[in-house]
């Protein structure tokens, strides 16, 4: 036992030539003794706060990373220094064992031998400690051969180099065949099947229910839908992402007498891995969630709500671990003085991008953008991407051969909400600089609205609904990474009427799955459908 009490008794600034203490053999250690009965032990002058010791036992420490040695009656710390000289490891000492631990800063989760770059680093950066372009798939790593599978197999920044995608409008399945009405949510692809989420109201459940369906790659079998939110109140499906191990989805849920944002993880069959997790506790509706996976270790969710009593919405965000646990609390992502709604998150190489609708009081709505560090810190300035009266924006990160950029798209509408003739878009750098000014991405139609972007690196495929003679159909068009048209538009839907609201994902045979909403020809009911575009030709190994 150290004799700290004696040291402290000296008091700061008090000099003493000696301190009388008992030797350890006397018992009653540390107790001042009579100078007639016991040995005098001359001691050095000690500074206040230093550790006095007589033996090594007095310097024992429970922290094996901070051992101390008794040197000239003072306990001297001799910390274990852990440094393996590798900048790509997190070096630390285990306080229980005193052994050094060298944890890689990035872990190779998909087992292809290539870890991903550290969050916030480009995989081309030599200090990124990883170069895998997709750590959710073992089929993507530097040097691999490119095949038509919807992945950037060789990590050259291009998905399915040279492939063409061919629609077959006759191949359509109704995902909500029992529904009175239904509306789309999102789509993603696991290693073996599509996972889609949508909302439907059936005769058995009078409310709108968020529902999951697993669709095989060939997309020809009608799946059995699985309800996700088993509550008697309305729930509306949101987006879904695949992390390499599970689907993650967020949705609007009214079980709490007020729409809140809920989250869960799903296995490829749609079984929930956890109890539903409520992400918001806000007065008023919390709506329009977006979710993004950083490719490594975290999920990010953003939505809009009115918790601050301003009378209008602003955007909030929440980080989640891959275990679905919240990291910190909800945080505001847009300033209070700006009405901000409908956020769309996209994870870039170095920054997290967010497009959203913004309006100041009395001003027209515009599409705005800001980016963050991947933990929502370090927000960039807000930049305006569109002219006035923009609507329904979407955004993706397109990782091209010469670096990644965000691509945003939207449609315009008049004061009554009537859509304009074309989809518009622009390109933004990760730092928030507009790389290309706003431009129409489609040829004029009677009306154009509701779109989705599929980034492939050297090109982007735009899916949208356009109306001619009173009928909406989904169309697709390939655009260069600079948003120049690479060909004419092709029709994706034909059988159903009033098809709109596409959501898209690429499968492992290179096919593009398209989720959309349309009228059932016979009944006029509104259902959710799935179709796919086949990968017609893939370049061989390059």
């Amino acid at each position: 036992m150290p004799v700290m009490a004696s040291n402290r008794a000296l008091g700061a600034g008090v000099l003493a030539s000696a301190l009388l203490v008992a030797a350890s053999s006397c018992g009653g250690r540390g107790e001042p003794l009579s100078n007639k009965s016991r040995l005098w032990v001359p001691l050095p002058v000690l500074d206040a706060g230093s550790d006095y010791c007589l033996t090594q036992t007095d310097c024992e420490s429970s922290d094996r990373c901070e051992p101390r040695r008794c040197v000239e009656n003072r306990c001297v710390a001799e910390p274990v220094l852990c440094d393996d000289g590798d900048p790509c490891t997190d070096d630390s000492c285990n306080s229980g064992s005193g052994e050094c631990v060298f944890e890689p800063l990035t872990a190779d989760r998909d087992g292809d031998g290539y870890p991903p770059p550290r969050p916030g680093f480009s995989r081309l950066d030599p200090t990124a400690c990883g170069s895998d372009c997709d750590d959710s798939s073992a089929q993507s790593f530097p040097g691999n051969a490119e095949v038509c599978d919807g992945l950037d197999n060789d990590c050259d920044g291009v998905v399915d180099n040279g492939a063409r995608f061919i629609a077959d409008p006759s191949r359509v399945i109704d995902l909500a065949s029992d529904a009175i009405t239904a509306s789309t949510g999102g789509i993603a692809y696991s290693d073996a099947s599509y996972g889609v989420v949508f909302s439907q109201q059936t005769a058995d459940a009078r409310n709108m229910q968020t529902t999951f369906a697993s669709i095989p790659p060939d997309g020809v079998q009608t799946p059995t839908p699985v309800p996700i939110a088993l509550v008697p109140n309305d729930t509306f499906a949101g987006p879904i992402v695949w992390t390499g191990q599970f689907f993650a989805s967020v949705w609007e849920d009214r079980r709490d007498d007020d729409y809140e944002i809920y989250f869960n993880r799903l296995n490829p069959a749609g079984q929930k891995l956890d109890p539903d997790r409520r992400l918001t506790q806000a007065p008023g509706f919390s709506l329009r969630p977006s979710i993004s996976f950083d490719g490594v270790s975290e999920l990010r969710v953003a939505w809009d709500d009115r918790r601050d009593g301003t009378g209008y919405s602003i955007v909030y965000g929440q980080r989640l671990t891959l275990a679905g646990e919240p990291i910190a609390a909800n945080g505001a992502l847009t300033p209070m003085e700006l009405e901000a709604i409908s956020p769309v998150l996209a994870s870039g190489e170095q920054r997290l991008g967010m497009a959203f609708m913004a309006a100041r009081v009395g001003q027209p709505r515009v599409v705005a953008f800001r980016s963050f560090a991947h933990d929502f810190s370090d927000p960039s300035d807000i930049v305006v991407l569109s002219g006035g009266n923009a609507a329904q924006q979407s955004m993706v990160f397109n990782e091209g051969p010469s670096g990644g950029r965000f691509i945003a798209a939207w449609h315009v509408e008049d004061e009554r909400g009537i859509p304009g003739a074309s989809i518009h878009g622009t390109i933004v750098s990760e730092a928030g600089d507009i790389v290309a000014p706003e431009r129409p991405l489609t040829e004029p139609a009677d009306f154009a609205r509701s779109h989705a972007l599929l980034p492939l690196g050297d090109r982007v495929i735009l899916f949208w609904a356009q109306s001619v003679d009173g009928r909406y159909d989904i169309h697709a068009r390939e655009l260069s990474a600079d948003l120049e048209p690479l060909g004419p538009a092709s029709r994706v839907t034909q059988v159903m009427t009033q098809a709109y609201g596409p959501a898209v994902a690429v499968g492992r045979q290179g096919q593009i799955g398209v989720l959309f909403h349309a009228n059932v020809p016979e009944s006029g009911r509104q259902h959710v459908f799935f179709t796919s575009l086949a990968c017609a030709a893939a370049q061989g190994p390059n």
Binding site: I180, T181, A182, S183, S199, Q201, R206, N207, M208, V231, P232, N233, D234, F236, R254, D257, F285, L287, R288, G311, Y312, S313, E339, I341, S342, M357, A359, R365, A391, Q392, D414, E415, R416, G417, I418, P419, D446, F447, R449, S467, G470, Y472, Q498, Y500, H517, N519, S523, G524, R525, Q526
Partner: protein, 105 residues
């Protein structure tokens, strides 16, 4: 469960008194075994038309306030599963969270 409606929001003659209009509503269950209840009632008519912000006041007869991707706005009510041409050209009658009704969106 559908409450006996006081009026018909989609009818030309809604049955409401002058100065009032018929609007649909939903009452949400508070327990796990409840069900949503729908109905329609007569309340003072607003003047918000298609695309107008709900913040300007109530919605006009035949319209309903919904939260869209552009904020809260009045949109024209429509009946799902009926001819889409009832909505203004370019808009579609899409589901809202009131059974049987859609909004021109």
């Amino acid at each position: 469960m559908v409450d006996t409606p006081q009026c018909d929001p989609l009818a030309e003659e809604t049955g409401c008194a002058e100065g009032e209009a018929c609007y649909p509503f939903v009452i949400y269950p508070t327990g796990p075994c409840g069900v949503e209840r729908y109905g329609a009632w007569c309340t003072p008519a607003g003047d918000g038309r298609q695309g107008d912000s709900c913040a300007r006041g109530g919605c006009a007869p035949g319209h309903v306030c919904v939260s869209t991707g552009e904020g809260t706005e009045c949109v024209q009510l429509c009946a799902l599963s009926i001819d889409q041409s009832l909505c203004p050209a370019g808009l579609l009658c899409l589901p809202i969270d009131i059974e049987g009704f859609g909004g021109c969106l």
